[in-house]
């Protein structure tokens, strides 16, 4: 096996709280190959965002570390671009300017002005947003804004693309549409992707691998499921594909039998088939 592209070793994360340290993550070990599409799935509050933020460099692990292409990660940088749950576009900039801010910062020296311009337009076209280049985030829908957030991240030519519930706040149709675009783009660019999701179907459809996390505190990797389905994948055709159904079953049984969360099942409406409840933290900030 080749040397891993991205490697997390013995990652522990302790947060300082008024009641003393809170151990959120304990001994996370993960090796990810170049071009792999990895989903992180687990119950709310188990520490998925924390893992992602450690890879992004936005958080520092209290023990262990993260190595990307042989370099230790200890600060954020554009080679690990992040797509945030609520698009995180600057509301005062147009769609074009939002992507431009990133492109100018990353390719200030290596691209001419014209090249940058073409590159921005190219990325907006990739997510089908070139037509709204001069609109502000407030003037476009949530799904469109999320696509711009993805374009901005892709435009940085990241070696790893990190996505924290990128489609969590979207309605089912928009979500399906964006999942398809994301699959196409990933097919084309062969990016390494780590994506957090609450949606089992989304995880199975998009991923090469699903990392299932145990419940916190002191959460760790519970199961590591390789999804061996041919690409390009078609959601309709897969719906009654035996392998697909089997993978889906695996994830569901991990979440609702092995890592069953009693309080969350009782208090949450309609979460029996498809856990979609957004994190309390996110709804508060939304």
């Amino acid at each position: 096996m080749s040397k891993p592209h991205l490697e997390l070793t013995g990652v522990e994360m302790a947060f300082d709280t008024p009641k003393g340290p809170f151990i959120a993550l304990d001994n996370i070990n993960l090796k990810i190959q170049k071009g792999e599409f990895v989903s992180l799935i687990g119950h709310s509050g188990c520490g998925k965002s924390t893992v992602l933020n450690i890879v992004a460099g936005l958080l520092q692990a209290s023990r262990g570390g993260c190595v990307l292409d042989g370099h230790e990660v200890n600060s954020p940088g554009p080679e690990r671009a992040v797509v945030f749950q609520n698009h995180a576009l600057m509301p005062w900039l147009t769609v074009y300017e939002n992507v431009e801010l990133a492109v100018r910062q990353v390719f200030r020296k290596s691209m001419t002005r014209q090249e940058r311009k073409d590159w921005i337009t190219h990325n907006l076209e990739l997510v089908n947003m070139a037509h709204a280049a001069n609109k502000r985030p407030g003037e476009i829908s949530g799904g469109m804004a999320q696509r711009v957030g993805i374009a901005r991240a892709l435009a940085m030519k990241p070696s790893v693309l990190l996505m924290d519930e990128p489609f969590g706040a979207l309605d089912a149709l928009t979500r399906a549409h964006l999942q398809d675009s994301l699959m196409e783009i990933q097919q084309e660019l062969n990016n390494t992707v780590i994506m957090i999701t609450h949606d089992v179907d989304e995880a199975v459809l998009l991923s090469d691998r699903i990392i299932m996390m145990t419940n916190g505190p002191a959460a760790t990797v519970g199961e590591d499921l390789h999804i061996d389905l041919p690409r390009p994948r078609n959601r309709v055709a897969l719906a009654d594909d035996a392998k697909y159904v089997h993978y889906r079953q695996e994830v569901l049984s991990f979440l609702y039998e092995k890592q069953r969360k009693l309080e969350s099942l009782n208090s949450r409406r309609g979460s029996s088939a498809k856990p979609e409840a957004p994190a309390a933290k996110h709804s508060a900030s939304a």
């Binding site: 509301p91 005062w92 829908s141 979609e276």
Partner: protein
């Protein structure tokens, strides 16, 4: 848990807003109301004033009604015009004289003295406006950068917060003697660029109007969306780019809220400071008329009161216009 449904209803609401923005049947009505109702309010006020004023007897005669005040404002304008004519004559006379002297002796040192007459009401308005704008500009130049620094640094903010809380409520009347003494002691120059009285009023205005901008700016800067801060970190923006491209635009709405409050305070403070310090301006006009005690004084003061209110209103409107131009959320 409510995120999804809230979002959907939000997007539906914005959609229907967009649909409606073409023609809104209710708009005409509401625009008519918007013009009509204030007009009704003003007319009722004038009527009430007209009836009530003669009932109030003062040592200077009955309180002036709207008619007297209107006449008096015409009178003040006439005074201004005739004063201007005299001033022009005074200057041309000097110029002619100087030309004659120069014709006789090209080396002669000639001067033109300013017209020595008292400033008119309009002159005082202009003085006040210039002073308030200068004081407000200085206050903004200090408050916005300081506010950004405080907002960016929690520790700094904690250190200066008590000072801000203590200085904020200080009345201009308390600052004035101190400012006067300091200005006369430190601003010594043979050929001063500014009048001392101008500096005193301006600095007092600055000291009192600084605080709302300072506080709002620091609150705005501290409240930048953490997601956007993360974006800035992922992009590795330099400190200056971060401030220019993320922090500043994000806090512009808050900064402008502060600036508008500051400008309102600046205008109120200025009138009080001018009255107390006898520095030129509308405040002095009011005080002089009060001391004058002629039968017209009350009407003239009333003209000044209305002018002060109207100018304050206009200043706020101008700020609002600038805010609409600059702020992204308008």
């Amino acid at each position: 848990m409510t995120t999804l449904s809230a979002r959907i209803s939000q997007s539906m609401a914005s959609g229907s807003r967009q649909l409606l923005s073409g023609i809104q049947p209710g708009e005409w009505l509401s625009q008519g109301k918007q013009l009509l109702l204030p007009l009704v309010g003003i007319l009722v006020f004038l009527g009430f004033w007209h009836l009530a004023a003669p009932q109030v007897e003062t040592s200077l005669g009955a309180f002036p009604g709207p008619v007297q005040v209107w006449e008096q404002s015409g009178q003040l304008w006439q005074e201004h015009v005739s004063q201007r004519e005299r001033a022009d004559k005074f200057i041309t006379m000097q110029e002619e004289r100087n030309a004659r002297i120069l014709a006789d002796n090209p080396e002669a040192d000639v001067r033109i003295r300013d017209y020595p007459g008292a400033p008119t009401f309009l002159d005082q308005v202009v003085t006040s406006l210039l002073t308030v704008l200068a004081g407000f500009a200085l206050a903004s130049l200090i408050a916005v950068p300081l506010g950004i620094v405080f907002g960016l640094n929690r520790y700094f903010q904690a250190a200066v917060n008590p000072l801000i809380q203590i200085f904020k409520p200080v009345s201009p009347l308390a600052w004035l003697p101190l400012v006067t003494m300091v200005v006369s002691a430190t601003y010594v120059s043979d050929d001063p660029m500014f009048e001392k009285s101008f500096l005193t009023s301006m600095i007092t205005v600055t000291l009192c109007s600084l605080w709302p901008t300072l506080i709002n700016t620091s609150v705005g800067v501290a409240a930048v969306n953490p997601d956007l801060l993360n974006v800035s970190q992922v992009l590795r923006l330099s400190f200056w780019t971060h401030v220019r491209k993320v922090v500043l635009p994000s806090s512009v709405p808050m900064i402008f809220t502060g600036l508008r409050v500051s400008l309102g305070i600046a205008w109120m403070v200025l009138i009080a400071a001018e009255m107390l310090a006898q520095s030129p301006g509308l405040g002095k006009f009011v005080w002089d008329e009060f001391q004058n005690g002629s039968s017209q004084s009350l009407s003239r003061i009333m003209v000044a009161v209305l002018a002060i209110g109207f100018i304050g209103f206009l200043l706020d409107r101008v700020m609002l216009l600038i805010q609409r131009k600059v702020a992204w959320n308008e």
